[in-house]
Amino acid sequence: MKYFEVKNLEAAAGKKHILKGINLSVGTGEIHAVMGPNGSGKSTLASVIMGHPGFTITRGSIRFSGKLINSLDPDERARLGIFLSFQYPSEVAGLSIEHFLRTAYNAIYHTKQLSVLEFHERFIVAANSLKLRHDLAERGLNDGFSGGEKKKLEILQLALLQPKLAILDETDSGLDIDALKTVASGVNRLRGESRTFIVITHYIRILKFIRPDRVHVMIDGRIVKSGGRELAQQVEKRGYDWLKKKE
């Protein structure tokens, strides 16, 4: 069994069926890209893997490290080592970023919690690597942030929380090319044998900086084609329509 396995996954928001039988296997340390046009269900897949309460799994299974996680709460999944970088991160005014992240870190690593000072040192190192200002630490979580700042902050969280499986949901959207390079090199530094990535994207752009091992194309709630990096190039040349027709 692979490190992360989704089998015949079907999920709905209310009565609306969005995921219609997803199969996805990702090995330890691999990077998989999930591409697809708008409305194909990519973000829903990310939310369902993380345990969003707005979706109901109607069929199938999600297994992480051999464990069935279908019915776990989002925080339980996070504590197992799953992380979602949000397409639209929420704002929480008055909640300082560093305080929030230290609380989160200590919730995940509750047997080896860090003191305020220990965490602060790590925070500064991570902020530097993403070219983020240090006074960010005291700002309210995403409060009044630009789209690009929010995305960088998601990657900062990824760097500090050190998950085993990271799902990046449209991390490239809203980033200019310099910000994209910074974010991508941040992600690349976190690559390793024990860290697995699923990169969800509409465009191939980010995949030029974060090179995937496998590429999957998702259309209308199903993965319709899987392949190597060359599949991404085909999508860049031909768009998604040829895959739809094939359906």
């Binding site: 991160p89 929480v92 008055g94 969280q157």
Partner: protein, 463 residues
């Protein structure tokens, strides 16, 4: 409020019975006379009390605000010596309050004090230390009963000047039967560098039911007065009706911080007002956590050019609670400025109301005022209302008003939970963030305990 040496002495007498005044329930002219007599007051104060009592009889309960119909004025003790308030057993204190004390980590001696099981507390040393620190600066900090004996001419000059007995029914009641409270006098140019508070958990119990506080800040002076505490204060008294009068003379600044967490059987009906003269600054910082019903609208009367007033408040209403709070700014001089910020949180069947007034009479040019009231509802059963009154008769002014009612969103919760935080942890962080702009104005020990208290409340409200 500090315990004075004389009061402390009385409390520690071996035979307290000989000092006990056998008060009757209910209010009459006779009771008012007895109170004044027991305290050995000058006759003018007795006259003030008797006139106020007549006013109290004539005044009706306010028709707005919370439900006051269940207050039984005849079923209240209007005067008790502190010794009578104790001697209830630890077992009588509601388990919920005992649990909260334990979880807040309050030392047992303080727990017993807060819940009225124990009368004495070693606050005398703390108080003396405070007096030493004030040294020869001329600052006076006494309890009101002592101050009336030691400084009758100052009290006579200012008592009831900011809040006359006729202001409202509860101000009249307080003026008739007041006991305790603080008197603070800061001479011109003196800046008191530490907050005046005896000890942050201990002072609350001393406050009493009908305390009366008067603060006078002479020109160019500064003082920060702190009353109350974040830990729940258990009392069997069902009515707390205080009056706080503050006079801020030209160029002076007074900050008055209150945190009340009365047990949930208490009607907390308090009148607080300040007169602020030219270039003076008055800041009310007000936290309301406890009581069954609180009606409290700290006011600033800006009476000199460029005077500035602020009312910053936090209210938390849980099951069965109604926090009707807000602030008033009366701009009685040109170029005066005010800021009212109210943050309220309601959960279960709790209800919060913002009630505020900004008044600018004609001719008061160059006035600026900004009002922000934000409410957060934690569930479907909670309720929040806003009653802002803007009485603006001058056109050369800048007035801002923003109000919002928010709910904790599913997306916000999912986001925080996806980072490993449990549901109560996530909710606690959102609520703490919501009140942060005001909580950061509180003295540190209050802010820390307030956060812990909210944490406990959140655990109770989830799942």
């Amino acid at each position: 409020m500090p315990t004075t040496a004389s009061k402390q002495e009385m409390l520690t007498r071996p035979d307290p019975m000989s000092y006990v005044f056998k008060a009757k329930k209910g209010l009459s002219e006779q009771v008012v006379r007895e109170i004044s007599h027991m305290k050995g007051e000058p006759s003018w104060m007795l006259d003030v009390r008797l006139r106020a009592y007549q006013t109290f009889l004539k005044k009706k309960n306010p028709a707005w605000g919370g439900d006051l119909s269940t207050i039984k004025f005849d079923d209240i003790y209007y005067y008790m010596k502190p010794v009578e308030k104790v001697f209830q057993s630890w077992g009588d204190v509601p388990p919920a309050i005992r649990t909260t004390y334990r979880r807040l980590g309050i030392p047992q001696a303080e727990q017993k004090y807060l819940s009225g099981v124990m009368a004495q507390y070693e606050s005398e040393a703390v108080y003396h230390n405070l007096k030493d620190r004030m040294g020869k600066s001329g600052v006076i900090f006494e309890d009101m009963d002592t101050a009336l004996k030691k400084y009758p001419e100052i009290i006579k000059k200012y008592f009831g000047r900011v809040i006359p007995a006729g202001d409202n029914k509860f101000a009249a009641l307080n003026t008739g039967v007041w006991s305790g409270g603080s008197f603070v006098y800061v001479p011109a140019g003196v800046k008191v560098e530490f907050p005046l508070q005896a000890y942050f958990r201990i002072n609350a119990r001393n406050a009493g039911q009908f305390e009366r506080t008067l603060i006078i800040a002479e020109p160019g002076s500064f003082v920060h007065y702190v009353e109350g505490c974040t830990a729940p204060v258990y009392t069997t008294d069902s009515l707390h009706s205080a009056v706080v009068e503050i006079i801020v003379k030209p160029g002076a600044r007074v900050r008055y911080t209150t945190v009340q967490n009365w047990s949930k059987n208490v009607y907390n009906l308090v009148t607080k007002r300040s007169f602020v003269y030219e270039e003076g600054v008055m800041e009310w910082v007000d936290g309301n956590l406890g009581s069954k019903l609180t009606m409290k609208y700290p006011s600033v009367y800006l009476l000199g050019r460029k005077a500035h007033g602020e009312v910053l408040s936090i209210a938390l209403a849980g099951a069965g609670q109604h926090q009707d709070a807000g602030g008033k700014a009366i701009h009685g001089a040109p170029e005066t400025t005010s800021r009212i910020i109210s943050k309220s949180i309601a959960k279960e069947t709790g209800r919060t109301s913002y009630r505020g007034l900004v008044r600018v009479p004609r001719g008061m040019t160059g006035v600026k005022s900004n009002v922000v009231c934000d409410a957060l509802l934690l569930d479907e059963r909670s309720r929040s209302d806003t009653y802002p009154t803007m009485d603006i008769k001058e056109s050369d002014v800048q007035i801002g008003h923003e109000a919002s009612v928010g709910k904790i969103g599913e997306e916000q919760m999912f986001y925080l939970r996806s980072r490993g935080l449990s549901e109560p942890e996530a909710m606690n962080l959102i609520v703490s963030g919501f009140i942060e702009p005001i909580a950061k104005e509180l003295p540190l020990e209050y802010a820390v305990e307030l956060n812990r208290l909210i944490q406990l409340e959140m655990e109770g409200s989830v799942g």
